[in-house]
């Protein structure tokens, strides 16, 4: 099985059909750094959900909403 180098994984756009993304994937999609992303979460500009082990996920709908706000 072929292994994809990690730097390629980071630059690949996550597939559109996913329901939620990790904070890092969402940051990459928005083109902002991780800290800014967590600041948006802490200020509740972006709502997140937690999965089993406590990891934060950003729902796709939240990202779309932020981008729609952005387009206004």
């Amino acid at each position: 099985m072929e292994t994809i180098p990690e730097n390629e994984i980071q630059t690949t756009t996550p597939p559109a059909e996913r329901l939620a993304y990790s904070v890092q994937e969402a940051a990459d999609m928005l083109g902002i750094n991780y800290f800014t992303m967590y600041r948006l979460i802490q200020r509740q500009k972006l709502k997140t959900c937690r999965v089993l082990r406590g990891k934060l996920l950003v729902p796709r709908t939240e990202l779309l909403q932020l981008l729609q706000t952005d387009l206004r």
Partner: protein
């Protein structure tokens, strides 16, 4: 690794692998912690600088998304700055974030008040809360990564070592670069 338990050779190896896997997180976390420490260290000088800018009514105009107009005083980070404006109640200060998104800049007031030093202290305090959210999320990601990769091994000691490392980055102050203060008492 914690002080009470000695890690096994496998746990040490897994820890090294995890550090490599989460290198970008650790790098960004540390860089942002250092930036916050510098803001905290330079807080009195920054407050003086902002106050002086407000007295001189200098700085370009920034209109935030709520329609309020501010004047730029001092940059805190690439996307945050201290701004000021005159109100009926006197000078008001705010930390404004200008976040470049795809079609425009999102311009938000993060916090504001009449005492510039308090505004900066509140800002620094809020940033520390962000680091707590970030730290917990990295620990959760490390836990998930290790449980998937080593399903029948206890790797909690590796997760703990990450938590300690991140907590240390928040609390430890790096070598500081102090801004020149020109002695305006406020």
């Amino acid at each position: 690794m914690n002080y009470y338990e000695r890690p096994t050779p496998l746990q040490e190896q897994v820890n090294a692998e995890a550090i490599q896997h989460f290198a970008e997180h650790l790098k960004q976390f540390k860089a942002n912690c250092d930036a916050l420490h510098n803001i905290e260290y330079n807080l009195p000088a920054t407050a003086n600088e902002a106050f002086r800018a407000a007295l001189q009514s200098s700085g370009h105009i920034i209109q935030t998304d709520d329609g309020t107009q501010w004047q730029h005083a001092v940059d805190l980070t690439k996307i945050t700055s201290v701004c000021h404006r005159r109100t009926e109640a006197g000078l008001e200060f705010a930390v404004v974030e200008c976040l470049p998104l795809k079609s425009r800049e999102m311009k938000d007031v993060l916090n504001s008040g009449h005492d510039v030093r308090e505004v900066l202290q509140t800002f620094a305090h809020d940033q520390r809360q962000v680091f707590k959210v970030w730290k917990d999320d990295i620990a959760a990601q490390v836990r998930e990564h290790l449980e998937e990769k080593y399903p029948h091994q206890d790797m909690s000691i590796v997760v703990e070592s990450f938590e300690i490392k991140l907590a240390r980055a928040i609390s430890e102050r790096p070598a500081q670069t102090q801004k020149q203060s020109h002695g305006v008492r406020i």
